[in-house]
Every structure is written in structure tokens, then in C-alpha cells.
Symmetry: C2
Subunit: 364 residues, 2 copies
């Protein structure tokens, strides 16, 4: 185990590679391509493990992240974010280095891009299948046709439809996730049917970790783009997407105060380390992470009743069972399972394997 003095994000490589392998096998079984989203780990090294598993193309969430992974050897990159026309210079540059796919969600975007792109670039139209965040509504064939029409005779080449049904994160059971997924799939299949005559090659990409982890029907889907599954976390565990044993990261933090009179301890673990996400597993019972014991080769299951109940910039307040509070000492290191792995990874900016190898992440 790496020596820990300050808050340190630990990665169990065995669990992480297991998560990657499982998703890769599932994709193969369902004859869809796994084009994993790298926004969760943002690490060139973790990226290599995907390459070793057989992954050949990736998804990212910004031009900056595309640049980082292009520099680290990836040749197929989808930027799953409505294209920012102000970044056309960077997009032109990327398009000369990698097989790039972008999101075009409006005619206005096309009109601006057409004038400025200097290479052939494939694009998805992002489809809003019920999340209500971004993309064209799944039944708005008029707008979709408008966008397609506006790209005719340009270097923008229609590739297909992509949807990130973020509404699965609000599900409270695996059954609910599957139900949402089925509805999403129906919308995407209807789109495919409608447009395939004109675009026989059009592809369907599907985005979220809950659906990709739980659904068993991917009919009509060509690629899946989950991200969070590389580490999983308590949000997903709470929905029923993963078990505690599949969570690949834990934040190791030093105990700086013990308050037996209120069964609390203070750790150096604020929102600058964990991120600010919380879970409210039972009403009025908000927490910012569950406490585990660090062990030689990883960490324990969550200690019943041990959780982070308050966060400020650098302080984390743990509520602990009586048994634990009496054996805990300042200078001890405890582990915290993340509520939201993407946030904890971004905040920490670097990760250490249990063996002590430091894994670089994308610079801020």
C-alpha cells in the first residue's frame, strides 16, 4: 500500500480492469461497439487499460479532453457535447489528427461551421430522449431534417443519432432503469427507421452508465458510450447498477480530530477533495460518502453507520458507530467511497494504484 500523508485517491486496478472487461464483453455479446466515455477517469494511463481490453475509439466531453487523449494515442474520438463554434480552430486541428465526431444540434451551428471547417468531419445529431437537457427532441423530425438539409454539400458528414438519457440517474431501481432504456430505445429505433432510407449507414449511439450496465436489449444500437462504470460509485450503487465490490476508487484521508462526545471525527477531506455530491438514502439522512477501512490489498465493505455527514472546503465530518469512534486515533487513515466518482476524480486530479503508481490525469 502507498504511504499516505495527505488526502490521496486510491484506485484498485483489479476492480477497475474487471469493470472494463465486463462492459467490453457485454458490448461484444450484444454486437455493439463500446466507445467508452473518458470524462470520469480523464487519465491517459487508465485509457491504456481500455486499449489493452480491445477498445479502439473513445468519447469525451470537451475539445480540451479530445486534445489530451489525441496526444495520448487515441485515433477515434467523439466529442459528446454540443459543438462550441468558437473552438473551430481547435476542431480543425483535431480533425487532421484523429477520426473526429462532433455533435451538431442546430441549423445555426451548421451555418457557422460550414464556413470555417477545413476538413471532412462526421457529426451526430444529439437526440433528447426525455432528459430535457440538450439535443433535438426525438420526435422533432422537422428540425432534424432542417439540420441535415443545411449540411448538404458541405464537409459536415452525417453519421447518426446519439442520446445520453440522463434521466436514468433519477431511477430508484434496476427495473426502472430498464424501463426508461426501453422507452429511449424505441424513440431511437423510430428515428433510425425514418431516416435510414436516405441515410442507410446511419448509426445509433447510446450514452449512460445505468442503461449500458443494466439493459439487456440493445436492438438497433450500434455503439454504447458509458463512462462512470470504469470506477462506479455510490450514486450508481444506490440505483442498483453496481455492488459496493465493483467500486474501484476510494479516497484515503487522514483523521485530524476525534469527538467521542458526539460520535464524530474530522478528516482532511472537503469538497476540494471529494466534490460536493451527496446522497439521501433515507429521508433526512444526507451523506457525502461512506467510510471503509483501508486494508493491505484494498478496502473493506462500508462500515455500517459510518459516513461523511458534513463537508466544507477542507473539512469532512464523519459520523461513526460507537465501536469505531473509540478505536479511531488522530493520524489514522480511513477510506471514503465516493458518492460521485467523476467529481472525486476531477477534484483530486491524480490517482494512485494500491501498488503506489501515480496515474496522471488531464491537467486542469
Amino acid at each position: 500500500m502507498v504511504e499516505i500523508v495527505r488526502p490521496t485517491l486510491l484506485l484498485n486496478r483489479r476492480i477497475c480492469e474487471g469493470n472494463i472487461r465486463k462492459m467490453f464483453s457485454k458490448a461484444q455479446k450484444h454486437h455493439v461497439q463500446l466507445i467508452p466515455h473518458f470524462k470520469t477517469h480523464q487519465s491517459s494511463k487508465v485509457g491504456e487499460w481500455f486499449m489493452e481490453a480491445g477498445v479502439t475509439a473513445i468519447t469525451v466531453t470537451s475539445v480540451k479532453m479530445a486534445e489530451y487523449f489525441a496526444q495520448n494515442g487515441w485515433k477515434g474520438i467523439t466529442i459528446a457535447f454540443p459543438v462550441n463554434i468558437l473552438e473551430v480552430k481547435e476542431i480543425n486541428s483535431l480533425a487532421t489528427q484523429v477520426a473526429l465526431k462532433i455533435f451538431i444540434n442546430s441549423k445555426a451551428t451548421t451555418m457557422s461551421l460550414k464556413e470555417h471547417i477545413k476538413a471532412d468531419i462526421k457529426f451526430y445529431i444529439e437526440i433528447d430522449t426525455g432528459d430535457g437537457r440538450s439535443g433535438v427532441a426525438a420526435d422533432d423530425y422537422v428540425q432534424i431534417s432542417d439540420i441535415l438539409e443545411s449540411t448538404r454539400n458541405s464537409r459536415l458528414q452525417f453519421y447518426g443519432f446519439y442520446s445520453h438519457p440522463g434521466q436514468t440517474y433519477a431511477a430508484t431501481s434496476p427495473e426502472e432503469v430498464k424501463e426508461i432504456s426501453a422507452g429511449v430505445l424505441n424513440k431511437l429505433k423510430a428515428l433510425k427507421r425514418h431516416f435510414k432510407e436516405e441515410f442507410p449507414e446511419l448509426k445509433i449511439g447510446l450514452g449512460d452508465t445505468p442503461s449500458c450496465s443494466l439493459a439487456e436489449d440493445f436492438e438497433g444500437v450500434d455503439s454504447i458510450h458509458p463512462g462512470n462504470f470504469v470506477y462506479y460509485d455510490l450514486v450508481q450503487q444506490n440505483i442498483g447498477v453496481n455492488s459496493f465490490e465493483e467500486i474501484a476508487i476510494s479516497l484515503a484521508v487522514p483523521v485530524v480530530a476525534v469527538h467521542p462526545e458526539r460520535n464524530e471525527a474530522i478528516v482532511h477531506s472537503g469538497w476540494v477533495h471529494q466534490g460536493k455530491d451527496s446522497l439521501n438514502s433515507t429521508a433526512g439522512n444526507v451523506h457525502y460518502g461512506l467510510v471503509v477501512e483501508l486494508q493491505q490489498n484494498g478496502w473493506s465493505a462500508p462500515i455500517p453507520g459510518a459516513k461523511v455527514i458534513k463537508l466544507s472546503q477542507e473539512h469532512g465530518v464523519l459520523s461513526l458507530p460507537e465501536e469505531m469512534i473509540h478505536r479511531l486515533k488522530i493520524g489514522d487513515i480511513v477510506g471514503i467511497l465516493p458518492v460521485h466518482a467523476c467529481a472525486t476524480a476531477v477534484m483530486m486530479g491524480e490517482i494512485y494504484t494500491l501498488e503506489g503508481e501515480r496515474l496522471e490525469m488531464m491537467p486542469r
Copy 2:
């Protein structure tokens, strides 16, 4: 104005220096020393503006931050966080470079530190004056005496009591802040009276921005340690601590989609840029920032009814008044006033003045 292509944190230097000057003058008027907390800006350059205003010593929230500002010329540094005994090596090193003050909140901490420190180090005992986060309860004279007893004949030198009454952040009016402050002050004065016979030189340090901004009575206080006031933000504005005109930073972000059908626009501004803090100014009306118009020399007042209503990792969803939605175009840049300036600054990791100067921040 600096050219903006990607999310960019803008700093209005005139407002920022005004905030610094006002707090410095207030401290002088009340005969207390301003030892500002640098956790909000974390920038060596902004630190220089404090130096120019007459500030000679600072407060930080971690050993790492102390190291950063020591490297940038600061000679008096208080680490306002319960000391992590695992960092004793780093503390010893810092103590040879700067006049260091640390927090000791337990006898257990003393017992460990005593054995390992290699220089004389001054310490505060942190006092919990009602926040319930960290420190010794203000009326627990027994524990305080225990800590003091345990440091006798050691290189740990008692300096005084420090309190960060974070409960002022839950206040809903300036009057409530002042009321809380008055109660806090009474507790600290009682402590001073009790211990001053034995420690006639003992000092009282007081921490939070709401109190330091609003209170007009600092009797018995020797130093004030506010941090957030350097930029201020919507949390503080909501309490009544500052006006909109005193907010010194704004996040400039590109518009990537406009949805007139629902009076919404999407900007490249997720929690990786803003942080995840929200305000619920009126019930059921959560927002993650108010929208302003960028202007030649800064930005406008908040546009009535324009706010960030949803945040994901990179997407921000704006709810906008009809008038604005119809003139907004993709590729436009809008400004967002931060809910929590500390979080937005940490997330962005660098700041640009309106004149285009890049201000470095502490590396992650």
C-alpha cells in the same frame, strides 16, 4: 476585454482591490489586524495586491497552501485547520521559513507533535463557538486547560484562541449575522478573561466573512481572518453581506445551444467550471448562478429572471427571459455570477483580469 473561446474566469481588479481596501480600513478602524484567509483566491498575484494594501500575514487552510504562499514571499502564515500529525515533516520545514501558527485542538495532537517538531511553533486552540464543526467547545475549559498543560515545557507555544463561526452562513439577514457575531464574541471574551491571567499575551482570532464584513463591534478581538470577501459571491449577497456590485469575479461562458421553445440556452459551464453550489432564493427555485451581460469594462447587473437552473459535468442550462432568448445566439459569451466564489475559483484553477492578464493559482 480578453478574447474568450472557452469557459474563462474573469476578475474585475478594481472591485477586488476595493474589497481588499475596505476590509483593511475596517480592520484599522477597529484596531484589529487583518490576516486574510487566502483559501478563496489561492493566487500568488492576488496575494500581492493584499501586500500592497498593507497586509503582512495570512491565513490558509492546508499545509500545501502554506507551502505555496511561503514560496511566494509570505513570512507569516496561520494554517487554520486542525493539524494533521502525519504532515509533521512538512510543518517542520515550513517553520524554518515562516512565522508559522497551527491549530491544536486535542491533547492527543500535542502528545504526537511534541515528539516530532524541531522548531518553536506557535499554536491557536480552535474554539467551537456554535458551528459544531471543529474545535474545542467554547465552555470546555477543562479540555482547554488539558491541552495547555500538555504543551508545557515543549516547543509548542500557546498563542491564543481562534474561531470560525461558520453558522453565520446560515443567517438570512445582516441583523442575524450581527446577532450571531455578538454571541460568538461574548464566548471568546469570556475565554480571554479566564485564561489571560496565566497567558497575558493571548490573542483572539475571528474567522468568517459575514461577521467581519457586517459586525461593528470587535472588542476583545486581535485579528480578523475573512477570506471570501476578496471576491464575494451570491451566497454572501443573499445574506446581505455584499451588493452585486461588490462581486469581483464572473465566469464567462460560450453559448452552445438556444432553445426558444422552452426559454432555455445551454452554455459550456458545468460543475467542473462553476462548482456545484446552489442557492434557493425562493422555495422551489434553486439556481446555480445568475446571468450577467459582459461589457467592455466588466459586466452588467444580473439580468432579471436569467439564471443557471441545471448543471451537469460540462453543461449548464440557463433559464432566460423571453426578450433575451430571442437575441441570444450560439457563439455568444455570457457571464455567470458565482454562487460560491471559493468553489468557482478552485474549479477553474486560473483567473484572467479584464485586461487579459492571467493570474496563476496554486497547482492542484
